[in-house]
Subunit: 399 residues, 2 copies
């Protein structure tokens, strides 16, 4: 269905801004109460909602809770179930590692083994992240001819290793036996394409075990989810856009790079993002502006702090309007209700601001109000079409 | 898209109740009037609607009137167009025949033929059901070595025959020529798998014609829709659920068995269903509670009686709430407006009651109110995802 757009896109001068409040969707604290967004005082967003078209979107589908990367893929116009991102790549993106096409990323769990090499604890007693970082430092001594190797801590006993070199592939099975009392499996190729990488992983494991042999409890490693970057056609190729990401957090720069976006580095806050928007206004026609802390506060379970973050973004909205975008979409990549302290499957409110719209009944930006909006509940990956269309970047289909 | 759920489901202790008022959707009797559901006094359902999320669902798709079996398949999470149920199986399920895997069921129409064997009436003058039952009794004398045979009346000139034995298949063409003035076709195999069954059907027809030869007007039979049970992955396999059906009518027990549900037998009314719900509460985590008479009264064209059935179910709702389900969905499998005396394609109202919901604007459970609900009009087969998600039985997609 998406390919229809590739045949229809038109180059023009119009500019689109996608403002993402991460995890903006929420829930009331008590029955009959308001959500975080409904509670927040958002005069600027409300004015945009009143003049624009509103609705809710489902980033992945009914009932599915989006992870951050798939949630953003949807906003960038890619149905996330069509572009699964392997565990290793998720881990690499999650820590902001600049993974490249051709790299193979693998999740590494530190574990404990006995004298016979049998795994006794698949999580090495859940060592803390600092310990994990120290062990990664130790393992950076591993050397394999012809391969560049990066090993980075993720969280607790979890790390990620990235192999970079010629002819690598993710056609390799996990070494994690998923059970204790048995030895880890050898890294085995699942096809001839994976043989070189399986051999490299084997060398990595042997050297790692030698380096770790006197460590307690983390004297072993298990590898899971060999993964290459998925082959995602760029936004340029697919939608004819020249996109740029203005994001503070590495994860979101990572997923932006996946779809061929340029990334402005060293942005620390909304002020810097506003400045970057202005500075880069002439160079691109699609601007992804990301605010992380709505999600962080939701994950913390801090309702009031999430409200405050939404209000902060609301005060930032005039800075976006200053550059006069032709089309502006304000939404989130998923819901993160403070009462749940986690991502959730609830649909995400959006507002579309542009010329030639049918201003609907929504006067204030909020979940329940958006449910009364023009669009109802739509698939997240379709939003890009509304943006392209509002920016007059799509030709007529048929005569 | 559904397979995504298979990879995400989580086992937990939460329990889901699906309360189905068969054919609940309706229409006003006169312009400006209320539907059956809008007319009914339903304080319990209204309270659930006010606290929950509402919408309408399309069991099959836009404009498609659901049969009972596909309507229920949708509610159980299966897109009905992906799991076509052959005419023979529909007929067998429709009369509550306990069809088994490996059986082949075929619709049989009594017909009239002339001395040369040409069909002169494909419906034998639309003989009444009692006559049909008498003829089925007569045909039960047919005997075919190695095959168990069941022939049962359906309605008017329609009957169903079920062949049970080794190596049967539904790869057999209809014998109904779809025209008068010509002879019926021979039952022909459409692949080598169907040859044995085609031979058995041929023997059945020859013996039947002999038994019917002096009957007027029903001296012939036509066979249509050779069908085996479709291969449907169970709800256990697909959604990780342990489901049970609490239904009075055989048809609904039949379609429940199709998706691997346990079935509680010998339930005569809502009281018995409430008792069975309580007694089986610890053994299952998905409870399908079915009420038939909303549909029956709709089919009768009896608006007031349908209203009364809805009110009866409303008084039953507290019995469900007593067991404290974590998630409760109240809906229908299709609409059966009394003014139409038939199933219809109108979308079906639903209400979702659970924790962590966004109570929407709907204060009373009814078709037009639900259209103002959070969800708008959604595919019926997606409801299961809302249930699984509300019961926290689905993991996050991607990191």
């Amino acid at each position: 269905m998406q390919d229809i757009v590739r045949d229809l896109y038109i180059k023009n001068e119009k500019k689109i801004v996608l403002l993402v409040m991460d995890g903006v969707g929420g829930l009331p604290r008590e029955q009959g109460g308001k959500t975080e967004l409904e509670t927040a005082k958002t005069p600027n967003l409300d004015a945009l909602a009143a003049a624009g078209e509103c609705g809710l979107h489902l980033p992945i589908g009914f009932g599915i809770t989006p992870g951050s990367a798939p949630g953003h893929l949807a906003l960038f116009g890619y149905q996330p179930t069509d572009y699964p991102i392997g565990r290793g790549v998720v881990a690499a993106l999650g820590i902001g590692f600049p993974i490249q096409s051709g790299d193979v990323a693998v999740r590494v769990n530190f574990a404990t083994r006995d004298a016979e090499g049998r795994i006794t604890d698949r999580r090495a007693g859940r060592i803390p992240t600092e310990k994990c970082a120290e062990l990664c430092e130790l393992l950076s001594a591993v050397s394999i001819p012809g391969v560049q190797l990066f090993i980075k801590p993720v969280k607790d006993y979890r790390a990620v290793v990235i192999f970079r070199g010629e002819g690598l592939s993710d056609h390799v099975e996990d070494t994690d036996p998923q059970a204790t009392g048995v030895k880890p499996r050898d890294p085995k190729a699942t096809s001839s394409k994976g043989e070189k990488t399986a051999g490299i992983a084997g060398q990595f494991i042997r050297q790692a075990l030698e380096l770790l042999k006197d460590r307690k409890p983390a004297n072993a490693i298990l590898m899971r989810g060999f993964a290459e970057l998925p082959h995602i056609p760029s936004m340029q190729e697919r939608f004819g856009l020249d996109p740029v990401a203005l994001a503070v957090y590495p994860d979101y720069k990572g997923v932006s790079r996946l779809v061929g976006m340029d990334v402005v580095e060293d942005l620390q806050d909304l002020d810097a993002q506003a400045a970057a928007l202005r500075e880069n206004w002439d160079r691109f026609n699609f601007f992804f502006v990301h605010h992380k802390y709505t999600d962080s506060k939701g994950e913390d379970g801090d309702f009031e702090a999430k409200v405050a973050e939404i209000e902060k973004v609301d005060r930032f909205v005039p800075r976006i309007l200053e550059v006069k975008p032709d089309v502006l979409l304000v939404t989130g990549d998923h819901s993160t209700p403070a009462v749940m302290r986690a991502h959730s499957a609830h649909p995400v409110p959006f507002l579309l601001h542009a010329g030639n719209l049918r201003a609907d009944a929504v006067k204030e930006f909020g979940e329940r109000n958006c449910a009364q909006g023009l669009w109802g509940v739509i698939p997240g990956a379709m939003l890009i079409r509304l943006l392209l269309s509002a920016a007059e970047k799509l030709a007529k289909f048929g005569a």
